[in-house]
């Protein structure tokens, strides 16, 4: 008998007696107020991330300009900004190791936790969200969801090959509880609140 058959047979033979129905999960009241942008901003701040409102239409990237100007290699996965490393043209994920700043767009944000969601399609190269030194995330304020429970009703989790919630930068406090940003992944995460460009019909 294969391991598969052995394990399944044992699980059937050893099933505990009793009736254990799957509970219905009620929809819980949001723990956040109506101003989702403010809630999102405060909560992401507590997780080590930053939130900036987009600059004027002529220079929406003004709040992160100093970060971008200080970067030698910028990889952009968004049409709003042109970097100097074309993610679509790379042979493999290790080629983003020298990226200083990556610019990506989040599918949505979550006010309860200050999280943003990316899928494989958004990142183009998943590894760029970790190997880059700094991450700039575009988020449409209209895309902020109330809570985690609501987030897990979104279709991305059943469709994307890879989906990930980022809540601030890579962090560790494994040495005496001292909080350090940039453990293995990005050293900073900045969300720039910038409306999505309307798709051409």
């Amino acid at each position: 008998m294969s391991a598969r058959e052995t394990i399944l047979a044992r699980l059937r033979a050893n099933r505990p007696a009793g009736d254990f129905p799957l509970p219905e999960v009620p929809t819980f009241e949001p723990l956040v107020g109506d101003d989702l942008v403010a809630e999102f901003t405060e909560r992401l701040g507590k997780m080590g991330g930053r939130v900036e409102r987009a600059g004027s239409p002529s220079d929406p990237f003004a709040p992160v300009r100093s970060r971008l100007d200080g970067a030698a290699v910028i990889a952009s996965a968004v049409p709003e900004f042109s970097g100097n490393r074309d993610l679509a043209a790379l042979a493999g994920p290790t080629e983003v190791n020298d990226v200083d700043v990556a610019v990506v767009r989040a599918r949505f944000g979550v006010a309860e936790t200050g999280s943003v969601l990316f899928t494989q399609d958004d990142l183009i190269v998943n590894a760029v969200a970790y190997l880059a030194q700094h991450l700039i995330v575009l988020l449409d304020p209209a895309d902020i969801l109330v809570n985690i429970q609501g987030a897990y009703k979104r279709p991305e989790f059943g469709q994307a090959a890879y989906a990930v919630l980022h809540t601030g930068p890579s962090a560790t406090a494994d040495i005496e509880g001292v909080l350090i940003h940039g453990a293995q992944g990005v050293r900073s995460l900045t969300v720039l609140l910038l409306q999505r460009k309307k798709q051409a019909a």
């Binding site: 391991a3 052995t6 394990i7 399944l8 044992r10 699980l11 033979a13 505990p16 009793g18 129905p21 799957l22 999960v25 819980f28 009241e29 723990l31 107020g33 403010a38 405060e42 909560r43 701040g45 507590k46 997780m47 930053r50 290790t94 936790t113 999280s115 494989q120 998943n126 590894a127 970790y130 190997l131 985690i148 429970q149 609501g150 897990y152 009703k153 989790f157 059943g158 994307a160 090959a161 890879y162 989906a163 990930v164 919630l165 980022h166 809540t167 890579s170 962090a171 560790t172 494994d174 040495i175 005496e176 509880g177 001292v178 909080l179 350090i180 940039g182 453990a183 293995q184 992944g185």
Partner: protein
């Protein structure tokens, strides 16, 4: 504005003022406010010089019973380590309380999480088949392993087929169970841990001492010593930022050139075939997204039916573990990256047998948050390595004997039975009741030392009859008042070690109640 305030009330002074540091290196927000997400301490905790050698874990001698008390005594004999450890874990426990109290439906969430887990565990054959079908439809290779040895062989086979000789991995208690690193080292596969705490433990050739904070028993001085010896860092520089950065800089090249990446699994979703990992460093994402070959090791009890159930478990996990509303990264691996190969290994390793244990099967609900460890007075004062087992603390006491009844026969006695573990468990495992049940099982199967057996038999006889209990209490209380120290604090009374026995009251509550409240004097 109602964002969770993660700060425990500062009116509480903590446990050990000696380890409160005046200076603070923790990361700050743009406004200069002190941040304390991830596993950060809410205030600086520092075991200062002079350097105190790190107490090592339990002596493991084959199948012989682990002497946890002996290792605990050595931990207690290292006061700086013990105090810093105690302080740090108690701080995390308090952060957990603040986070839990911030959610009105917390108790309801625990109950729902418990019910989802019991339902899934009692229908695990069905959900595993569903998971397998979904994963295969996603283009994933699915493997089944009866035990740790088979898991290791399967992974080695996959690596050999690809000519892979190096593997980066994220923290996984399952692979610790399987002795994965040791096995791979014997087959010339270079395994690199990518979680900072786990990497520290790997470089020091030690097991993780905590399921969430693997190196929590080490001070910065210990880490500086390990890194100086293994990574060539400055032995006199114990700055936490310097040490963490040194690890980042030395691990990054290993991640880039690794042939394969492996992660554990926090939750496996049956309906979508998804593996979910929760990390603060993003190291599971590096392991899963950089090397061309991707492997996920999954304990079969990690299955939950639907994506929507993550809306329950993700809210509970990090709040219970660290007092954070969520980990920095919650990652959902479902399908392939272009041009890569993805494998999932479903591992039993004793779980299907545990399901048959009427009193113990609900321990399979465990989501490895570590809350029971942080709250446990024994764990905080003895360190995870004193248990000499993969799982330490209260959850370890009830899981470890299922792997080896003789070797871990003494562990269920390392508990004060205060029940705090049960109260903080996010999936409502009756941990302290199972600890007690294990004591009975082990006594009946003669797995415990004679002294303890005699004491338990006598205690059982006394506790089962109220009149005998009252007589004994009266005698014991009188005895505690009049006995000389050597009669109370001797090796036969393990509870007299490292602590003072309580002052005996002049009158028991029962006697007081009879005199003051039961005028009729009836002994109902």
């Amino acid at each position: 504005m109602s964002a969770d305030d993660l700060t425990p009330r500062q009116t509480e002074d903590g446990l050990h003022p000696e380890v409160h540091a005046p200076s603070d290196e923790s990361a700050r927000g743009p406004g200069g406010e002190r941040l304390q997400h991830a596993e950060a301490a809410s205030k600086p905790i520092r075991a200062d010089a002079p350097r105190e050698p790190q107490p090592r874990g339990a002596k493991v001698r084959g199948n012989r019973p682990i002497d946890q008390a002996e290792a605990a005594e050595r931990f207690l004999a290292a006061p700086m380590h013990q105090k810093a450890h105690d302080e740090r874990l108690w701080d995390v426990r308090r952060k957990r309380d603040v986070a839990a109290h911030g959610i009105p439906e917390w108790e309801e969430l625990r109950e729902i999480a418990s019910q989802i887990k019991t339902h899934t565990l009692t229908h695990l054959d069905h959900y595993l088949e569903q998971f397998e079908a979904a994963a295969k439809a996603n283009g994933v290779h699915v493997h089944w392993a009866e035990d740790g040895a088979e898991h290791n062989r399967i992974v080695l086979d996959i690596l050999r087929k690809h000519g892979a000789t190096s593997l980066v991995k994220s923290k996984s208690m399952l692979t610790e169970e399987c002795g994965f690193r040791h096995f791979m080292a014997a087959h010339d596969i270079d395994v690199i841990e990518t979680d900072l705490g786990e990497r520290i433990q790997q470089l020091d050739d030690e097991e993780p001492s905590h399921v969430v904070m693997p190196a929590v028993h080490k001070t910065r001085l210990d880490v500086a010593e390990v890194f100086a010896r293994t990574l060539g860092t400055d032995p006199d520089n114990d700055d936490a930022h310097y040490l963490a950065e040194s690890q980042r800089e030395t691990t990054r090249p290993l991640i880039l050139k690794a042939d394969a990446g492996l992660t554990g699994c926090n939750f496996a979703i049956a309906e979508t075939g998804t593996v979910v990992t929760c990390t603060n460093e993003g190291n599971a994402d590096l392991s899963g997204n950089v090397p061309p070959l991707q492997i996920h090791s999954i304990g079969i009890e990690k299955i939950i039916p639907r994506v929507e159930h993550l809306g329950v478990f993700i809210r509970l996990l990090s709040r219970s573990a660290l007092g954070s509303p969520i980990t920095q990264y919650t990652s959902h691996f479902r399908g392939l990256r272009p041009g890569t190969e993805m494998h999932m290994v479903l591992v039993d390793n004793g779980r299907s047998e545990r399901l048959a244990m009427e009193e113990f099967w609900t321990s399979l609900k465990c989501i490895r948050c570590g809350a029971c460890m942080n709250t446990c007075p024994v764990y905080r004062r003895s360190g995870g390595l004193s248990y000499g087992a993969t799982y330490s603390g209260p959850i370890g006491l009830i899981i470890d004997p299922t792997f080896n009844k003789r070797k871990y026969s003494t562990l269920p006695f390392s508990s004060t039975m205060n029940g705090s573990c049960t109260n903080v468990c996010p999936v409502k495992i009756n941990i302290h009741e199972q600890i007690f049940a294990w004591r009975k099982v082990l006594a009946e199967e003669h797995q415990i030392p004679l002294l303890k057996q005699g004491m338990m038999k006598a205690a059982g006889a006394v506790l089962s009859r109220p009149s005998a209990y009252r007589a004994a209490i009266q005698t014991a209380d009188s005895a505690l008042r009049i006995l000389p120290r050597f009669a109370v604090y001797n090796p036969a009374n393990t509870w007299g070690k490292k602590r003072e026995m309580p002052h005996a009251p002049r009158q028991s509550f029962h006697a007081w109640y009879r005199r003051n409240r039961m005028k009729k004097g009836s002994d109902a």
